[in-house]
Structure formats: structure tokens, C-alpha cells
Amino acid sequence: MATSTPPALPPLRPAGGAPPARKRRANESVSTWRWTDRIGYVLMWGAGLLVCAIGLSIVVYMMFRGLQYLRPSLIFSHPQAGLDQSKTGGFLDPLLGTILLTVLGITIAVPIAIGAATWIVEYGRPTWLARLVDSGIEIIAGTPDIVIALFGLVLFQQGIFGWMSFTAQGGAVFGRSFLTAGCMMSLIAMPMVFAATREGLQAIPGHVREASYALGKTKAATIRRVLLPSVKANISTGAALGMGRIAGDTAIVVVLLGATLTLDPEGGVPGLKVLKGTGGTLTSFVYNNSPAGEGNAPQKAYAAAFVLLLIVVALNFAVDLIARSGAKTGLETSRLGAK
């Protein structure tokens, strides 16, 4: 069996492992494996390739369809109601709506998520409260977005939130606006930012904190000057993932933003009136224009969907880039990163 050539010593292998390779000192060969391992091996390759194929086919198909129908004029013209498809305009408003809602949602989510994650890792006392915070985040992460949307609608129709959306003559609060939708969207993104931040903080070894304390620094200074800067890459990754989730969400847009065709400002204060008003996003535009929606203009749906896909893919690439640059300058490659 172990008739190994020149290098006289057969390679050491753990007892019970595969027998030593014969002839060439090549990599181990599948032919020496058990049948179950071989099947598993093939299945793993298959699964990997399948995922690639699915991802690629979505992008390629959407690109094909999207580029077929996408015209610059679509991006730069406002949508209009009309019976003739050539006169219904483009999707400038939904595009702006997506950007606005994403920025709004992430702006609300990031500080809360960082605060919660920092508290739970650096303080986390009393333990029962930490556990409660943890489950709170898990519940938020696990709640379907349509449920979050409904909850948000009920919440923001209360009188005290009247300033956030349109209030009718009788005092009834409409509850639908960029502000209210942004608040609920932040719940979609928050768990991702929270998890990323917490993971980053937990990966910082204790002796780094102690090094800061040993220089006579307070805990607050340590968190602000050492710990949070160290997890910048994690926070960015979480934020980019969260933005992708917000950009892709439909339920909250339909329920809380009104899913209107155009941005409909409300009130007279510049800036705030857009936030107080209703609008739509690319997702609601795609839904409305798909064969399932009332617009039924699939070409425009494809074009808008392609733009949406581009945004989300771009965000994912951003995640990758951030993670990689973090690995270059951050803790991951240093001895600090070794837990």
C-alpha cells in the first residue's frame, strides 16, 4: 500500500483517515473517498453552481429586458396617469422616492443600532435587560415587513403623530408619508446594522479596551475614540446591507407611503413638505406596472426593476469593498483580530 517513492516517509495522516496517496505526491484524489463523501462532494459543487446560475440568470434576464426598454427619458421624466403608454412618462419620482426613503430609513436606523449594539456589548448590565434588548432586536428582525407596515399605520395615525403626515379637516391623521414610512423602514435595516456592529465590537479583544483604560481613559472615551472607529467597516457593511433591504421593500411602501405614482408634497414648509407627503418607490412602481398591478405596463416595470436591481447590486458591491478595505487596514489581518 504505502509504497511511496522518493520521499521515503509516507505523509502522516490521522488514524482512520484516507490511506496515503500513491505515486505522485499530488493532492488527494476523490477516488480514495467513500461513496457518501463523493456524493456529498458532487452535491456541494452542484449547489454552489446552482446558486451562481440563479443569480446570474436573474441579472442577465433583467439586464436583457431592462436594457431593451430602458431609455434615459424614462429615468428623467415624471410619471403621469394616462391611457396611452407612450404618454405615461418615466419613473423619476419613484427613483427619487427610493433614494429618499433609503436615506431616511438608514439615517434613523444607524444611530439607534450603534447605540443598542454598543450598550449590549460594552455595558450589557443588568443581564435581563440585555437579554430583553437582544430579543427585541430578534423580534424586529423576524417580523414580516407587512406586519411592521400595519403596525406603523396604526401607530402613526394617532393624533400625536399628526405632524408627520397629512391631517384631514376632521382631525383624522392619514399616517402615510415619507417620515412614517422611513421610521418603519429603519426597523427593517436596524437588525443588520445592529448585528454587524455587535459582531465587530465583540471581535475586539479585551486587552485593547484595557490598554485604553490603562492609559487613564474613561469607558466613554474608549468607546468613542477606540472601539467605534475600529468597527467603522462593520457599521458600513451593516448599513449597506440595510439600505439594500430598504430599497427592495414593497409592503411598507404600499401601506405607509401610499405607493402613489408621483411625490405628493404635503403642507407648505419647503423640504418638510416632501417628507410629510406621500410618494412611491421603484418597488411600488414595478408592482403597479407589472401585469399584476393596475398600470400593466410590463416594459416599464422591467426597466424600473432593472434600475432597482442595479441599485441593490451596487450596494452589495459596496459591502464587499468596505469589507475588503476593512480587512486591509482594520483589525482582521492583525494580531489584534485573532480572538
Binding site: 490598554a211 483604560y213 490603562a214 492609559l215 487613564g216 475614540r225 475600529s230 483589525l331 492583525s334 494580531r335
Partner: protein, 323 residues
């Protein structure tokens, strides 16, 4: 200069393959015991924080050209029946010691003997461990450490850790971090620069990094990172420097550099070093404290502890019978 010669002797020793065995007890002749060292009175005045103080010591040229250990100055810290408990486990049992300026105190002993705990108690870092309790008195310059605001105490009693742990920021910011935020206002980079340069100089790192102060500190080599940590600790202007096995994660060459540094630093500071490496304790220590299972078994001048230990345990340990 004298210090340097001695250090080179130490380095030779470190590279000696037979270095595994104990250093020969027949070492250079030295005057034992801090109080008996007759020293030019200027030695006290040398403590000016100058990075070169060790080599440009006014007294140095006039001193006889024989191996000279640290010059014990006044007592900076004193421990009286210090005990530390983790829960019910007594990690340090009634230790009394004194830490003097101008000398290196080496804490040796087998793993788990409480030497690191003792070290961390000195700047109240053990208080970060929720289960830790402390009994006994630690004084710095006569003041109970409990009466000093903890951040102020830690600036006076700074610490270097086993793992090089620079912060993920630039080299400059790492050192400047110790200086910033001590006042109400954040000082500007320009104001901080001379202090940063000085600290890097004292840590012997300046020549290697002076052109890349804005580079990330984590790109430095392990030995450089550790010296950066020392620079960072020095920037806070400490009176006592605690070192917890500062060389255990480093290669022999970096170790030699850092030992050299420790020997130089002691002219302006009191240094307490925890080490597993008996050779190192022998090379850098002026006094050695041997701990075993939380007890301070032996405390005395390095020479004496290594060549003529009083306690049986110490003798066994320094001869390598256990630990």
C-alpha cells in the same frame, strides 16, 4: 554607555543556545541592595523625561566601569498585605512590597501564581473584573490609590500588555491618544507633536517611524508594535510603568531591543515587569519577587534570588524543577 555594554552581554546570553539553563550565578560584581548603592546625587535630577537620559546620565561617565544595575531612588509605591480575591479564590495573599524609582522589579513565578493579578492591581485594572475584590493597602507616593481618581492613577501608573495592542489608528494617533482628552479641550496636532516625538524617542522607535507617523500602527512588526505600546504608555507621563510579559509574543531580537529599552527607561521611572522568562528577569531585574500560589515567597536583589535563594521553593523554581 555602561548600560549598553551590559545589555549586549545580556543579548549574547539570549542568543546562546545554552541559554535554556540558568544564567551562571557568577555574574559581575555589583553592590547589592538599593540603600547601599553610593550614587552621585545628580542621579535623581536626571529624571527629566529625556529619551536619552539613560545614556547621557551625568553621573554615568564618572561611575566606575563595572556592571552597574539600576539606581534605586525613593520609594514610589508600597504594598501592604495586599490580597486579591476572585470570588472565593485568593489569587494574591497578603503581599507586601515596595517599588522604587530607578529600578526594575521583576515578578516571577509559575503560571497562575498571581503575579499578573498583582500587577493589574497596582493601577486598579483588576476592578474591571466584576468578581475581583481587594484587601490591603497600595500607596503611591504615600497616597492610597483608592483616594486617587482612577483615570488619574492610571496615567501615573501606566501599563504595557502581553499582546502588542496598538489601536487601529495611525502611529501618531496611537501615541497622541494618551495625551488627548486629558483636558477639557482637544489639543491640536501641532501642540501634541513634540510630545509624541519625545515618547517615540524614549521608546526607541522614532528612527524607524519618523517618516510614516500617519501610517496605520497595525502595519508595524510585532516588536515595533510593542515599542509603540511602550511609547503610548510613556506619553501619558507615568511615574510607574507596569509590564505584563511584554516580550512573550515577540521574537528574540525584538525581545532584546525591548529589554534594552526597559533598562534604559528605569533611570526615569519605576518599572515592574512580570515575566515567565527567568533569563529575562535576571537580565533586566534589579529586584526579583518570586511568587508561588499567591504568596510572595522571596523578594530580594536579583543576584541574591538567583544565586543564593533563601527559600527552598525559590531554589527549585530558579533551577527549573517546577513551573
Amino acid at each position: 554607555m555602561i548600560e549598553r555594554d551590559e545589555q549586549q552581554a545580556g543579548m549574547r546570553h539570549a542568543s546562546d543556545p545554552r541559554g535554556e539553563i540558568l544564567p551562571p550565578p557568577v555574574r559581575r560584581i555589583r553592590v547589592d541592595g538599593p540603600p547601599t548603592v553610593a550614587l552621585p546625587p545628580q542621579a535623581e535630577a536626571v529624571i527629566d523625561g529625556d529619551g536619552l537620559s539613560a545614556t547621557t546620565m551625568p553621573g554615568a561617565g564618572t561611575m566606575p566601569a563595572r556592571p552597574q544595575r539600576g539606581v534605586a531612588g525613593r520609594e514610589r509605591m508600597s504594598l501592604k498585605t495586599l490580597s486579591v480575591f476572585y470570588g472565593d479564590n485568593e489569587a494574591v495573599k497578603g503581599v507586601s512590597l515596595s517599588i522604587r524609582e530607578g529600578e526594575v522589579l521583576a515578578l516571577i513565578g509559575p503560571s497562575g501564581c498571581g503575579k499578573t493579578t498583582l500587577l493589574r492591581t497596582l493601577n486598579r485594572l483588576t476592578e474591571l473584573t466584576p468578581s475581583a475584590r481587594r484587601a490591603g493597602v497600595i500607596r503611591i507616593d504615600g497616597t492610597d490609590v483608592d483616594d486617587i481618581e482612577v483615570t488619574a492613577l492610571r496615567r501615573r501608573v501606566s501599563m504595557v500588555f502581553q499582546q502588542p495592542n496598538p489601536f487601529p489608528m495611525s502611529i501618531f494617533d496611537n501615541v497622541a491618544y494618551a495625551l488627548r482628552e486629558q483636558g477639557a479641550k482637544r489639543p491640536s496636532k501641532k501642540v501634541l507633536e513634540p510630545y509624541v516625538i519625545e515618547a517615540l524617542g524614549r521608546a526607541g522607535l522614532l528612527d524607524e517611524v519618523k517618516d510614516k507617523l500617519d501610517h496605520p500602527a497595525l502595519r508595524l512588526s510585532g516588536g515595533q508594535q510593542q515599542r509603540l505600546c511602550i511609547a503610548r504608555a510613556l506619553a501619558a507621563g507615568p511615574e510607574v510603568l507596569l509590564m505584563d510579559e511584554p516580550c512573550s509574543a515577540l521574537d528574540p531580537k525584538s525581545t532584546a531591543v525591548i529589554e534594552d529599552l526597559i533598562v534604559e527607561l528605569r533611570s526615569s521611572l519605576a518599572v515592574v515587569i512580570v515575566t515567565h522568562n527567568l533569563q529575562q528577569a535576571y537580565r533586566v531585574g534589579d529586584h526579583v519577587a518570586f511568587m508561588y500560589l499567591g504568596d510572595l515567597v522571596e523578594y530580594g536583589p536579583t543576584e541574591q534570588v538567583f544565586s543564593a535563594p533563601k527559600a527552598e521553593r525559590t531554589r527549585d523554581y530558579v533551577r527549573g524543577s517546577f513551573g
